[in-house]
């Protein structure tokens, strides 16, 4: 059962990382426009200015 000493803190750290990521996303306004975000995912990228043709 010594493995708990590693697993429990690891699990809590992962959970904590998830929470921090959520709070960051909230703070950076990612939940302000839920309808728009759904569409942006499938919108075409903006054509880069004077994109050189690549092969």
């Amino acid at each position: 059962m010594e493995i708990l000493v590693i697993l429990v803190p690891l699990a809590l750290m992962l959970g904590g990382a998830g929470l921090v990521a959520f709070l960051w996303s909230l703070k950076s306004g990612q939940y302000d426009d839920l309808d728009g975000a759904a569409w942006r995912a499938i919108a075409d990228d903006e054509p880069a200015p004077k994109a050189p043709a690549k092969r």
Binding site: G15, L26, G36, W39
Partner: protein
């Protein structure tokens, strides 16, 4: 005279040398619009940010300070096919957004804690029946406490605060039993953990908070979305005025930037945005939005004009007065305050349920403790069982029962063109059994229509429409719109108060008063509500009858309401002849004309005495007090500012059908809310005996809680399917 648009009121600084403005944009509803607008605006040099918010229908713009004039963005959006207007966030909306973010943060914390505590609880539950060492179990309990206690202290704030507010006001609400349940469950679990006991309820307590926060967040989000739409509408209608900044120079400024004593210019076809007194000019004004009276009033020097009046024929200079000076508005405001006070006495379904629920639950818990002690159990065991009763009865499903239905029903109403101003409007609308309609602007359309267009030869009508484009007169605008005219007649001249004339191919065209066109002979028996416009081409004469038409589906809606056994009547401030013709056209036997705001309230009170629940549908400023006095109220989107703010629901578009759709949707929603409450209570009836008998484990508590919550949420989803055939 030189006119400039002044946006400085709306611009704010956003960091080093960058300026920011928010614009509300009409007609944005898909990804295509979003990309089009963002690319179109970003293409303007020096624009550093152009981002559309599809939920709120707004665009945020930033640019290098001093390089651009915001009017350019509005013109650019106009080229792209969107109507935009500067937007100022109301303080109420700022508060809603902050509250919504706080709830989401609480929800995040609670969900994180629930997941981690569950991760620790499941080994304990399975360990209890297998071979877990007591030390390991204690270790897991302490870890759970370490996560759950701070998380509950943070995420429980919305409930604790609201419960405290209710208790300090010596009332109870749903949050009181929730707070007591959570605090007792956590406290007991800590005590049990110290005594190395087998069961701790950290998981149940924190899971309860998570579920309830979901309900709270949904509720909040619904209100926030309505608030955003309402804010955009307010921005659309706000109202700018042409203020004199020099003897001959005027600037188009928002009303907020106008002070008493300023002088504004009111041109024909413009709606007055301020209260004031005419100091120069002579014109006819349409005060139907204020008084309901459709007959025009003559305005000359010294005539008071109120915000919402439409200037018809001449240009006026108006000196702005303080709002309180206007006697009519002061009277309306006073009535409105009284009515609003009366309305706040309504008790929401959720609060009524919790008022019954809390004492029963707390008494049961107390009786359980006393019962077990009398039966010979130790105080410790008796208290543990009592707390278990509180945990299991904690109104988890009860807390979700109403907000989930409200959220889904308001979404369904949103789609059929109805916006909710207040959360409990659904409950009140479902109870309505008597509808009072205002006439002008509610049963009739706010804009004018040409009634006899079919009798006029098509080519003549088109020519009249093109000529009408050169006039500012609202009646002419209606003719132009009805004719679908696009290109104005070249060289048309407007003669103030008379009409427009032009010469095309050597033939003189005239549009205006019958006398101006020499068509008095054609004006026969006249519809009392119609304005008559004459048109002459050479020696040919025609007469157009322009009036406010009934909403296209008004008759069908009235019939549909009758079929639903709802009483209907018309209360209008307009003249008797006008009201009578509308009432007979719609087959409404009960109507009153020439009614003042106070009379309307008196009539509503009379109906209340008889036990009727009144739905008031009105748009005018004179309807605002009665909108507030009625059990529930509705306004069309074209309504006066004050009425729209007072109404519980606002409906969009030309048809009247949303009134019936809203009644149907809310009745269905109330039915589901009741059903949900019964489901929640039924679950308690089953679970409470188990809890009283003392065999509840944390596993049973967690399963019962999530089971009932999911059941209630699934039941709420049924509110989404609204029937299509309304009338």
């Amino acid at each position: 005279m030189h006119v400039t648009r002044d946006f400085s009121h709306y611009i704010r600084a956003a960091g080093e040398g960058v300026q920011h403005i928010d614009l509300a944009v009409e007609g944005v509803h898909c990804a295509g619009c979003m990309a089009k607008i963002e690319r179109g605006l970003s293409a303007i040099p020096d624009v550093t940010l152009a981002r559309v918010n599809l939920t709120d229908r707004r665009v945020a713009l930033e640019w290098k300070a001093g390089t651009l004039e915001p009017g350019r963005f509005i013109d650019r959006l106009e080229e792209l096919g969107y109507k935009a207007y500067p937007f100022e966030t109301e303080s109420a909306e700022v508060a809603e957004v902050a509250e919504s973010r706080f709830l989401l943060r609480c929800l995040g914390v609670a969900a994180f804690a629930t997941m981690n505590v569950m991760m620790l609880s499941i080994p304990v539950w399975s360990g209890n029946v297998s071979d877990m060492l007591p030390e390991q179990r204690d270790f897991f309990h302490w870890l759970s406490a370490l996560i759950a206690l701070p998380a509950a202290a943070y995420a429980g704030q919305p409930f604790f605060r609201s419960a405290w507010r209710a208790l300090s006001a010596k009332t109870t609400n749903m949050d009181v039993p929730i707070s007591i349940g959570v605090i007792l469950a956590l406290g007991m679990s800590v005590v049990e953990t110290i005594h190395h006991a087998e069961h701790a309820y950290f998981d149940a307590a924190i899971m309860l908070l998570t579920f309830l926060l979901v309900g709270r967040f949904l509720d909040q989000n619904m209100r926030r979305r309505t608030r955003a739409v309402a804010g955009n509408l307010a921005a659309l209608k706000a109202e700018t005025a042409a203020k004199f900044v020099g003897p001959d120079e005027i600037s188009q400024v928002p009303v907020a930037a106008i002070n008493p004593g300023d002088i504004v210019l009111l041109r024909p076809g413009e709606r007055c945005a301020v209260d004031g007194t005419v100091i120069e000019g002579r014109s006819e004004i349409d005060q139907s939005l204020i008084t309901g009276e459709t007959l025009y009033v003559t305005a000359e020097q010294g005539t008071p004009v109120y915000a919402g009046s439409m200037n018809i024929s001449g240009t006026l200079r108006v000196r702005v007065s303080a709002a309180s000076e206007a006697t009519l508005l002061a009277e309306i405001t006073r009535l409105l305050d009284n009515a609003l006070q009366a309305r706040s006495r309504y008790m929401r379904l959720a609060d009524r349920a919790s008022r019954l629920y809390a004492p029963v639950v707390h008494a049961t818990a107390l009786l359980t403790i006393l019962g077990w002690v009398m039966a010979g159990a130790s105080w410790h065991d008796a208290i543990v069982t009592g707390v278990a009763v509180l945990i299991i009865t904690c109104p988890c499903a009860l807390g979700l029962a109403i907000p989930t239905v409200q959220t889904i029903a308001s979404g369904a109403m949103f789609k059929s063109g109805v916006l909710l101003n207040s959360g409990d409007a659904i409950e009140r609308l479902a109870e309505a059994d008597h509808v009072i309609f205002d006439k002008t602007g509610t049963l009739t359309l706010p804009d004018l229509e040409v009634m006899n267009a079919a009798d006029i030869p098509a080519d003549i009508f088109e020519l009249a429409g093109r000529l009408a484009l050169s006039s500012h007169h609202p009646v002419a605008a209606a003719v132009a719109q009805a004719a679908g005219a696009k290109s104005p007649v070249v060289g048309a001249v407007e003669e103030a108060g008379q009409g427009v004339r032009a010469t095309v191919d050597g033939v003189e065209l005239r549009l205006g008063r019958p006398s101006f066109c020499g068509a008095e002979a054609l004006v026969g028996s006249v519809d009392p509500e119609a304005s008559i416009v004459a048109f002459s081409k050479g020696s040919e004469r025609f007469v157009l009858s322009v009036r406010q038409g009934l909403r296209p589906d008004a008759k069908a809606v009235i019939a549909a309401l009758k079929a639903r056994n709802v009483g209907i009547e018309i209360l209008s401030g307009d003249r008797e002849a006008a009201v009578k013709s509308t009432a007979s056209a719609l087959e409404i036997p009960e109507w009153r004309a020439g009614v003042t705001p106070a009379d309307k309230i008196a009539r509503i009170e009379e109906l209340k005495q008889r036990g009727a629940k009144v739905l008031m549908v009105g748009d005018g400023m004179n309807d605002a007090p009665s909108l507030a006095a009625a059990h529930v109220s509705m306004s069309p989107i074209s309504a006066a500012h004050l009425s729209q703010a007072t109404a519980d629901l606002v409906f969009l578009g030309r048809p009247l059908a949303p009134v019936v759709a809203a009644i149907d949707a809310s009745r269905k929603a109330l039915h589901l809310m009741r059903q949900n409450l019964w489901l929640a209570i039924g679950y308690n009836v089953l679970a409470v005996p188990v809890a009283i008998s003392g065999v509840v484990t944390p596993l049973i508590a967690a399963a019962a809680m999530s089971g009932s919550s999911i059941l209630v949420m699934l039941n709420s989803l049924r509110a989404r399917s609204t029937s299509r055939e309304i009338v």
